[in-house]
Every structure is written in structure tokens, then in C-alpha cells.
């Protein structure tokens, strides 16, 4: 918003709980918190000039994504026909640094309060002929007071803004935690493929960071996650390799059924079955890089209220299996910025519900289906029950063979 031409005269305050993060060049080791940035999100970042900084720091584009089942041979491969990048794996710190640089460029319009925390919000009364200020009052921990026409809550899935605004949140804690780590591969490779395998305990994913390193995101039960963190490095690496390579969850029945279906497809659609590539094997893990965090799903019943808007994880929280969490947030930002910019050019009051509701409708329509689908996939792949495995095996194989469906995904 600071870079938007219609916001030239406006004042924006950003309350950031963490410290300022800016890097001129990245340290040698990779951070274990990474995100998969979609091309759409990259466009948003480049529209405010941040993508150039990301590129000059470091990122890894990937061209292909292979997703397969632990219980069968079924597999689906995503790649763009024109060999364009499907997405980019970027460390979160890199994105933060790029954004910090761009915030500095509009420091006359955007004031960032680092290490600040809001302790109290005072909402405007709905009555229209009241004598108190109709704006939102924010009191900070250090005693400073701010007042604003529009408060945007981007404070994560435990959003205080959302709670204080009394917006109900539908949430569900998965019995899973995600284990993240930075891994070093056994041998250098092009490493432009993202790998994900659905184990009965949860999906394990390998996201490329460079020709020799990848980032691990392994969603599994809380107990297993703690075990993984506690074990020594060699055992940890062994667990990862066996998770990707072992076939112990296969049953003859499923294998045969799967093979039959596959030959049926190749009769109907010869190009419908792709070649299965083998994921790289892991040699070692970065010593300090193992960490875990709990997973859940959440969706706010409302994204907006008079003078309040929620974006990102404050509005919706999703399982990492689709790698879409941050991209949904970027989508929210692009949409809200678009509506606010148009409202500013019309001279409207920025906190007015009229355009905020347009943002809410547009994003809820987009987000709800993706969140529901991700949740459904997570549940579908959490089981070893034969009928469900068969269903999803055939489903996956069929989807792999049908270009229109794949493109939609």
C-alpha cells in the first residue's frame, strides 16, 4: 500500500513484534523456515519492488512436483508445459529482508514500529451520532496511542485482532506436528523438483534449496515428531530416506488393482501415465536446523467488520501439505490492496464496510474451496484402510491422466 499511487497522501503504521530483519547477503547455512512462493505471489512481490531483492539474495525455482502415495504405486506429477517455473522455494528471512528494504523506500508514508505490541483496542461505537471518535484507537505496550480509520489484522492464526473484534473462528487442531530441517543431499543434482509422499502418518516433503540442499517438511503425529527431533542425526537421516523409499505399506491387492487401472488408462490415454522419477537420497542434516510446530486448520467466520480487516493466517489457517498457506495470504493482500486503492481514488472512507465486504466475498469464495480441499486430502491420506486407499489410488491415477483437472490444481 505504501507504494500505491493513490495512497500518496495517506499514513500507514506497521506494528511488528519482532526485530528488524535486513540482510545484505545471506549466511552460508539455510534457515529451516521456508515457503513455496507461487508465480502469482512473485508477481505481487515484484509489483512493490521486493522480488528483485529476493532474487539478489537467494531463492530456488522448481519446475516439477511429484506427489505419490506410500500405500500404492499411484503418483501424480505437476509441471508446466512451457517449462516455466512452477514456483520458488524461498527462505522466510529472505522475504522479510526484501520487504524491509522496500518499506524503507516509502518511510515517509509507512512507519514501522519494531518490537511493539498492542495492548488494547478501542472499537468505534456503531451509533452514528455519537460524540466519541469514530476511529479505532490502539494503545501500545510502551504507552503510545494511535488512531486509525482501518485496522488490518495480519497477526497470525492466534490473531489478537480477531479475538478482540469478537470474530468467531472455526478451528480444528490436527493431531500432527510438522518437523522442519535443512538437509544435505548425497550427491549434487539439478534439484528442481519438489517431492511429496503421503505416508499414513502424514505427508513428507522435500523442497529444493540449492543443488545440494533441500528443506524438509514432515507432518506426522506429535509423538513421532518428538522422536524425530530427539534421535541422533544418522537415525534421523535414515528415517527420512526410508520414508521416501520404503514400500512396506504396499499390499499386493492394492498393487494389482493399481496396475490394472494403470493399464486401462494407458489404453484410453497413452500419454496419461508419467514416468516416475526417484527422489534424491539424503546424506546429512544441518545440526541446529531441526524444529517442530503443531498443525491445525482455522477459518474466521468473517474477514471484515467496520474498520477492521483480517488477512493471511489471521483469517485462515491451512495444512502445509499443499504448500499454499503463504500464497493464500499473498492473494488476500493483492485483493485488499486493489479494493483499498480503488476506494482511495474514489475519496471513500477507508474503513467503510462497502469495499471491505467486496474483499471478503472475493477471498472467501477463493479460499474456502482450497481450505476444504486441503483438509479433505489430509483426512483421505491419513488412513491405510484398503477401500479408501484403493479409491485414492485410482483417483490419483485418473487425475494424473486428465490434463484439465491437473491444470486447475
Amino acid at each position: 500500500l505504501g507504494h500505491d499511487i493513490h495512497f500518496h497522501d495517506k499514513k500507514i503504521a506497521l506494528l511488528e513484534a519482532g526485530p528488524r530483519k535486513e540482510y545484505d547477503h545471506m549466511p552460508d547455512s539455510y534457515s529451516n523456515r521456508v515457503s513455496s512462493i507461487s508465480p502469482g505471489s512473485a508477481t505481487l512481490l515484484s509489483s512493490c519492488g521486493a522480488w528483485d531483492h529476493v532474487c539478489s539474495l537467494r531463492l530456488k525455482p522448481f519446475r516439477r512436483m511429484q506427489v505419490w502415495d506410500a500405500c500404492s504405486e499411484a503418483m501424480i506429477v505437476f509441471e508446466k508445459d512451457d517449462l516455466d517455473d512452477m514456483g520458488y522455494i524461498v527462505e522466510n528471512d529472505v522475504v522479510m529482508s526484501a520487504l524491509t528494504k522496500q518499506l524503507d523506500a516509502v518511510a515517509d508514508r509507512v512507519e514501522v514500529f519494531y518490537r511493539s505490541r498492542a495492548v488494547r483496542y478501542t472499537w468505534p461505537l456503531p451509533s452514528h451520532s455519537c460524540d466519541t471518535s469514530p476511529w479505532v484507537q490502539v494503545e501500545l505496550a510502551d504507552g503510545r496511542r494511535l488512531q486509525t480509520k482501518l485496522l488490518i489484522g495480519a497477526d497470525g492464526h492466534n490473531s489478537v485482532v480477531r479475538k478482540e473484534a469478537e470474530i468467531k473462528n472455526i478451528e480444528h487442531h490436527y493431531d500432527q506436528s510438522a518437523v522442519v530441517a535443512t538437509l544435505h543431499l548425497s550427491e549434487a543434482t539439478d534439484n528442481n523438483v519438489a517431492w511429496q509422499r503421503f505416508l499414513p502418518t502424514g505427508p513428507i516433503a522435500l523442497l529444493p534449496l540449492s543443488d545440494t540442499a533441500s528443506s524438509l517438511v514432515w507432518s506426522t503425529s506429535h509423538d513421532h515428531a518428538s522422536e524425530l527431533l530427539a534421535m541422533d542425526e544418522e537415525s534421523f537421516v535414515d528415517s527420512i530416506n526410508s520414508a521416501f523409499w520404503s514400500n512396506i505399506n504396499h499390499t499386493d491387492f492394492i498393487d494389482t488393482a493399481g496396475a490394472m487401472f494403470r493399464s486401462a488408462i494407458s489404453l484410453l490415454k497413452p500419454s496419461g501415465t508419467a514416468v516416475r522419477q526417484l527422489p534424491p537420497s539424503v546424506a546429512k542434516v544441518d545440526p541446529e536446523s531441526r524444529a517442530m510446530f503443531p498443525l491445525g486448520m482455522g477459518h474466521a467466520t468473517e474477514y471484515v467488520q467496520h474498520r477492521v480487516a483480517l488477512i493471511g493466517d489471521a483469517a485462515h489457517r491451512v495444512h502445509p501439505l499443499a504448500g499454499q498457506g503463504v500464497n493464500l495470504g499473498f492473494g488476500d493482500i493483492a485483493c485488499l490492496a486493489h479494493h483499498l486503492s480503488a476506494a482511495a481514488f474514489n475519496g471513500s472512507d477507508l474503513g467503510s464496510l462497502k469495499h471491505l465486504l467486496k474483499f471478503e466475498t472475493e477471498r472467501q469464495r477463493h479460499n474456502i474451496s482450497l481450505i476444504a480441499a486441503t483438509d479433505a486430502l489430509k483426512r483421505l491420506y491419513s488412513t491405510t484402510l484398503t477401500p479408501l486407499v484403493l479409491l485414492r489410488t485410482w483417483g490419483l491415477q485418473a487425475t494424473n491422466a486428465l490434463p484439465p483437472v491437473k491444470v486447475r490444481i
Binding site: I5, H6, D9, H128, F345, N346, G347, S348, D349, K354
Partner: protein, 289 residues
């Protein structure tokens, strides 16, 4: 005797030559506190901002060369006649203009003043005055770049006087923006019967069909008083979505943009230029010879 004289001079405009209709004033007095309820009685006027503000903004931008990002109307002085609670003055102020809003109903001005007082930027850019158009003519000759009279001309008592006053306070080549309702069978059925009596889109009794103004008549009055009409566009309200849009036909609501002619307009517009020309020529002929 002197004191009597002063007393009668105090209220010169309460009699026949006013464009303010006292019956109309009473109607608006009753609803003065409802202006800023975006979903209340004035909801349709709030959503009208979505088309009338861009209309005014874009017409003015296309006529000027300066563009200040974030403040497209900066440096422009606007008079909002019949501003009511300030629904249109505020967005224009936010876009950078210096706005003077006038309305004959005191309660409206009080509501407007209070609402703008919470916004430090608007509080400086907008000034409200409880007054009719005639009352400010003398002190505001050729002061304003733009006059906006939105949903007003269907409430005035004497339209020609109103237009003459507009011309007097407007700078040469200044713009006049009017939105109002056409006088047609359709506007009676939809504008009064449906909008007021049936659906409550407009508070009942707000409008009288007799006072609706057809665009042809408005254009005639404007052209004969020194204005040239640039644009006339039909407007349509969709009650289901609560939003306004443009339409080809002006048989219901319409918006109009006129520009005051550049030459200084005297009361006998047709005579003046040729007379002075002749005088000048004879003067120079005299000195040359």
C-alpha cells in the same frame, strides 16, 4: 426610523426571490440525524458516491494538466450546494479539494460539522455554512472553480434564479455538476410510487413529481444563462444490489456537466461584446487620425 430600516434589511431573502422552499426544508429537518447511517434512510445517496465522485473527478482531471498523485483534486475550490450531512463533500475533500458546503437546514450543517471534526485532514479542507445560495452570492463572486448541486434542483423553488446564482459565484470556465431526476411517466412510477411508497428506498414524501426537471429544460436554462453543456448521462439504481450504474437513457435519474463560458458575462449578454468592440474601434480611429 433608522432602527426600523435595519430590522427590515436583516432578512432580505425570506420572501419571493429565494430559491429555497420552506416546505422542502422541513422535510429534511426531520431526518437530519440519519445522514451518516450507511444502511439507513440515506443509503441510496451513500452508494451514489460510487458513480458521482468518479464522474466529477474524471471530468475535472480530463480538463486539467496537473496531476497530484493521491490528491487528484488538489487546488480546486468546490461549492457543494445543498450539501446535507456532507455525504458528497467528504469524498471530494479526501481527494484534495477545498470544499465549502452550504445547506439551508441548520441541523444538517451541525451534523456535517460534527462528522468532519473527527478527521484532522477533512476538518481543514471542508467548511460548512448554514445558508442558501443567494445569501453567499455577494461575498463569493467568481470564487469557485466547481459547483456541485447533487439531488438539489428538484427541491428548489425557482430554478432560473438558482442557475443565475451559480453562474455568479463560478469562475469563468468553471464547472457545474448537477444530478437530478427527470420528469417522465417512468420517473413517477419508479421514482415516487416504487421508490418512496413501496420499497422505501427514498423516505416518503421526499420528492414531488411536479418539481422534477427534464434534461432538455435544464439544458435550455443553462445555455441561456452562459453555460455550455458538456455531458449528460443517465443513471440507474439497482435496488437489489443497492448500487448505482450508468445507462443510455435519461428517463429516470441523470447527471449533467456544464461549463461556464470564458468571457465575462454581463446581464445583457447579447449586447455587450459588439458595443465595446465598436467603441474601441472608434476610439483607435480617433487617435490614429
Amino acid at each position: 426610523q433608522l432602527s426600523l430600516f435595519r430590522f427590515t434589511l436583516k432578512r432580505p431573502f425570506s420572501t419571493s426571490h429565494s430559491s429555497v422552499d420552506s416546505k422542502e426544508m422541513k422535510k429534511f429537518q426531520l431526518l437530519a440525524h440519519k445522514w451518516w447511517d450507511e444502511e439507513g434512510e440515506y443509503a441510496a445517496l451513500h452508494s451514489m458516491n460510487d458513480i458521482r465522485v468518479p464522474f466529477i473527478r474524471d471530468s475535472l482531471l480530463s480538463m486539467s494538466n496537473n496531476y497530484h498523485p493521491g490528491n487528484p483534486l488538489s487546488g480546486i475550490k468546490i461549492l457543494d450546494v445543498g450539501c446535507g450531512g456532507g455525504l458528497l463533500s467528504e469524498p471530494l475533500g479526501r481527494l484534495g479539494a477545498s470544499v465549502t458546503g452550504i445547506d439551508p437546514v441548520e441541523d444538517n450543517i451541525r451534523t456535517a460539522d460534527r462528522h468532519k471534526s473527527f478527521d484532522p485532514v477533512l476538518a481543514k479542507r471542508i467548511q460548512y455554512k448554514c445558508s442558501s445560495l443567494e445569501e453567499i452570492v455577494e461575498e463569493s463572486m467568481e470564487t469557485f472553480d466547481v459547483i456541485v448541486a447533487s439531488e438539489v434542483v428538484e427541491h428548489v423553488a425557482d430554478l432560473e434564479t438558482f442557475i443565475k446564482c451559480c453562474s455568479q459565484v463560478l469562475k469563468p470556465e468553471g464547472s457545474l455538476f448537477i444530478t437530478t431526476i427527470n420528469k417522465t411517466q417512468l420517473s413517477y412510477v419508479l421514482g415516487i410510487v416504487v421508490a418512496e411508497k413501496m420499497m422505501g428506498i427514498v423516505p416518503e414524501g421526499t420528492h414531488e413529481w411536479e418539481k422534477f426537471v427534464p434534461p432538455e429544460e435544464l439544458e435550455r436554462l443553462l445555455e441561456s444563462n452562459g453555460f455550455s453543456v458538456r455531458t449528460v448521462k443517465g443513471m440507474l439504481y439497482n435496488p437489489l444490489s443497492g448500487s448505482w450504474g450508468w445507462m443510455e437513457s435519461t428517463s429516470l435519474n441523470y447527471a449533467l456537466h456544464a461549463v461556464k463560458s470564458g468571457a465575462r458575462v454581463r446581464s445583457h449578454a447579447t449586447d455587450a461584446p459588439s458595443e465595446t468592440d465598436v467603441q474601441q474601434r472608434s476610439a483607435t480611429a480617433g487617435t490614429a487620425g
